[in-house]
């Protein structure tokens, strides 16, 4: 396909307020059948990838498991290996953490998924530094916050070395003296204070060379890691001007490593709401947001900031009259963004002003300030026009959709939006390649 076009993935987080589980059409989100049906639906829609989130501790609110949102998800690589056996073309991307994995073990599992899927695997590289998640692991809380990307970089470099340790022609014929040509498989040795391994990989390169690397962090460290190693940036910037700023920043960073913009895909995460008319889409978006921010969720959202039980307050009434606890937020509970680790009291003061000025209830304010607003709302034609504008300007290369309802929200995309994109010449009309790397139009690995 020539010219700019839209690459689509679906990011299934598996936890959080995004998914409207109370809807009667919501499929059971942990059932294998739901995953298989979703992956096959996306394959019908010619998507590049199906993408699973992962978090290594169940989210909590003040010491108890968070009760209002969907929770419970499978091991991403295990689930994607099952999906590899149930699909033919779609890319399969696993979010996996560099802080609480052994590099040789994770690299081997990812390479295994890549071979079993015949070159359709991807790895969304994430870091965490928090000791709270570390309580589930052998070396809980071992890594200083400042060093998390240093570890990630060494981890990724070790993985790349393991993935390229086999010569392309290592395996011989059945009548040869040995299964592998002697000397054709290298031992990988890394011994630093952050990565320590000696390993002979048991898995050769797949048809696409190695798993496609996604990177999601938006900090300077994350962007630098992306520029150096990633094939795809899973960004958070869906507004045109912000997306352009990110693309420009990444282009500058890429140049430092001898790379250009063509070697990287930028796919922001985006919730979209479609309707037959613009008004219907707006109405549906309001409904979705209302379902995502129920009165109880609004209270739970502010409880994290107040640090205390607010269940006695009326979500449709004014903000709590009590003062929040002095303790800063702990962003490690899995529900709060990491950039909110300081300045809590100032933020709450700001919120009070905003609520007073607008005469907002607890829930009204939560609707405005809690994360998760739909990025694109409209008819399929409107959204297709908007996306065509984005990709023609190369501010993004597509989107990772964050569905509010499975499968309903995705069926609409496949049946209504994809044809609209195809009409505009910005979406494939058939898979041209077979690997994830080919779907993404990424240059071959040299």
């Amino acid at each position: 396909m020539t010219g700019p076009h839209v690459h689509l993935g679906v990011f299934q987080a598996g936890v959080g307020p995004q998914l409207v589980w109370a809807h009667p059409d919501a499929a059971p989100h942990t059932a294998i059948e739901t995953f298989v049906q979703t992956a096959q639906l996306l394959e019908r829609g010619l998507f590049d990838a199906f993408f699973l989130g992962e978090g290594l501790r169940v989210r909590e609110n003040r010491g108890r498991v968070h009760e209002l949102d969907v929770a419970g998800r499978p091991d991403a690589i295990t689930q994607l290996a099952a999906l590899a056996g149930a699909t033919e073309r779609i890319g399969l991307v696993a979010t996996q953490n560099t802080t609480y994995n052994f590099p040789a073990d994770l690299a081997r599992r990812l390479a295994s998924l890549d071979l079993l899927s015949d070159g359709r695997a991807g790895w969304n590289v994430v870091t965490t530094d928090n000791a709270w998640t570390g309580e589930n692991f052998r070396h809980g809380g071992w890594l200083a916050h400042e060093r998390r990307y240093e570890r990630a970089e060494q981890f990724v470099e070790a993985a790349k070395a393991l993935w390229s340790a086999w010569d392309a022609d290592a395996v011989q014929d059945a009548d040869a003296k040995s299964w592998a040509r002697p000397g054709s498989i290298a031992t990988v040795d890394r011994h630093t204070d952050l990565v320590d391994l000696t390993a002979v990989p048991t898995v050769p390169a797949s048809r696409q060379g190695r798993p496609v690397l996604f990177q999601a962090g938006d900090s300077a460290g994350g962007r630098e890691l992306a520029a150096k190693h990633a094939d795809v940036v899973f960004s958070a910037h869906t507004r045109f001007d912000e997306a352009r700023a990110l693309a420009e920043d990444l282009t500058v960073r890429l140049a430092r490593y001898g790379r250009d913009r063509e070697s990287l895909r930028i796919l922001p995460g985006a919730e979209i709401v479609l309707g037959e008319t613009a008004a219907e889409a707006e109405e549906k978006a309001r409904w979705v947001r209302g379902e995502q921010v129920t009165g109880r969720r609004a209270l739970a959202f502010f409880e994290q900031y107040w640090g205390t039980d607010l269940s006695g307050y009326d979500p449709d009434g004014p903000l709590p009259d009590i003062e929040p606890s002095d303790a800063e937020l702990d962003p490690s509970r899995g529900t709060i963004s990491i950039d909110r680790r300081s300045g809590k009291l100032a933020l709450i003061a700001q919120w009070r002003e905003r609520a007073d000025a607008g005469n907002l209830s607890i829930r009204d304010l939560a609707l405005e300030v809690s994360p998760g607003h739909p990025a694109f709302v409209g008819t399929p034609a409107q959204v297709a026009d908007e996306w065509a504008r984005y990709v023609r300007a190369r501010v993004v290369d597509g989107f990772n959709l964050l569905p509010y309802l499975i499968p309903g929200a995705l069926t609409d995309v496949v049946d209504l939006l994809v044809p609209a994109l195809q009409e505009r010449g910005v979406y494939r009309t058939g898979y041209q390649g077979s690997t994830l790397r080919e779907h993404l139009d990424l240059p071959e690995i040299r």
Partner: protein, 357 residues
Amino acid sequence: MSFVLAVELDGDGAHPSAWRHSRRSPGAVLGGAALRTSVHDAERAGFDLATFADTPVPPAGGPDAAGRIEAGTRAAFVATSTSRIGLAPTLHVTTTEPFHLATQLASLDHATRGRAGWVLGAANDVASAATVGGVPLDPAGLHREITDVLDTARALWDSWQDDAVIRDVATGRYLDPDRVHHVDVTAARFTVKGPLITPRPPQGQLVVLAPEELDVAGRTDVVLVGGADPADVADRAERARGAGAARVLAEVQVVLDTDRSGAERLAELDDHTPWPDDGRLRHVGPAAGLVALLRRLAPLVDGVRLHPAVLADDLPVLAGRVLPELADLRAATGDTLRGTFGLTRPENRFAVRGGQS
């Protein structure tokens, strides 16, 4: 209970030279198509369980196969294209995170809707330990690590009660936090807080299979025993049961007569690389002889795990001339792997206790 028939499906077969007789290019073993073929053949033949051997290091030294796909992903890959056969990968307690191991196995049980097992591995050689920057443990330390990781996995599989997800639209509560538990494991070499990120497996607890030499009979569901002859197998089975094993499978290596005799085939295979005697039963010869051997074993053990020397040669004979002769030892056992072994679905420790997290 039905006499359980398991088969080890790693690579091209159990004999180190099997790759020379796979009838496909040697590298093909490292792909989905070859894997699917052997698992589907085993399911169609009527086997109850397929196991997938693994190590963190290359499977063979010297001239033989240097490649192997990780076992947990192999088992998952065939989860949705099979419907009856149990799937049990080898995962090692020494070179993984206990939390990841428990999550991976629970996920396999969900993906297979209750057909997953775990063959407990405890790689403790220098090369395996070095893959995670470690060194081998001493025997006491190793035994403690095995029991610690196994106990932790079992606790984590219980950390969500079966009825934890309530989906109560009226109150907006998706789950009941009183039914999702911290496990607070303190082991010799690690701690784990929990709960698992994955809801309780369909079987409640996966079927755990362990070789007798790991000495964890009381904690596992199935002990795998070797033996020089059926009498030796009987002794070992008795010992395992005395130590608490619920079920015992005998390990049997097989080289069957095809259009050539088993003895001839073995000699040719051994000519390249000898198949070391690791203390397991071995049948070399006609299908009828294997049927007779399995009939002798039937009163002594709960089943067998067969190790075909060459899958491409031995699996068709097993399917055509061995399993059909054992029909009278077999009964329908339900659709979970626990059911196959006649094991009930265990209660959840937290539900029994009725405690809070």
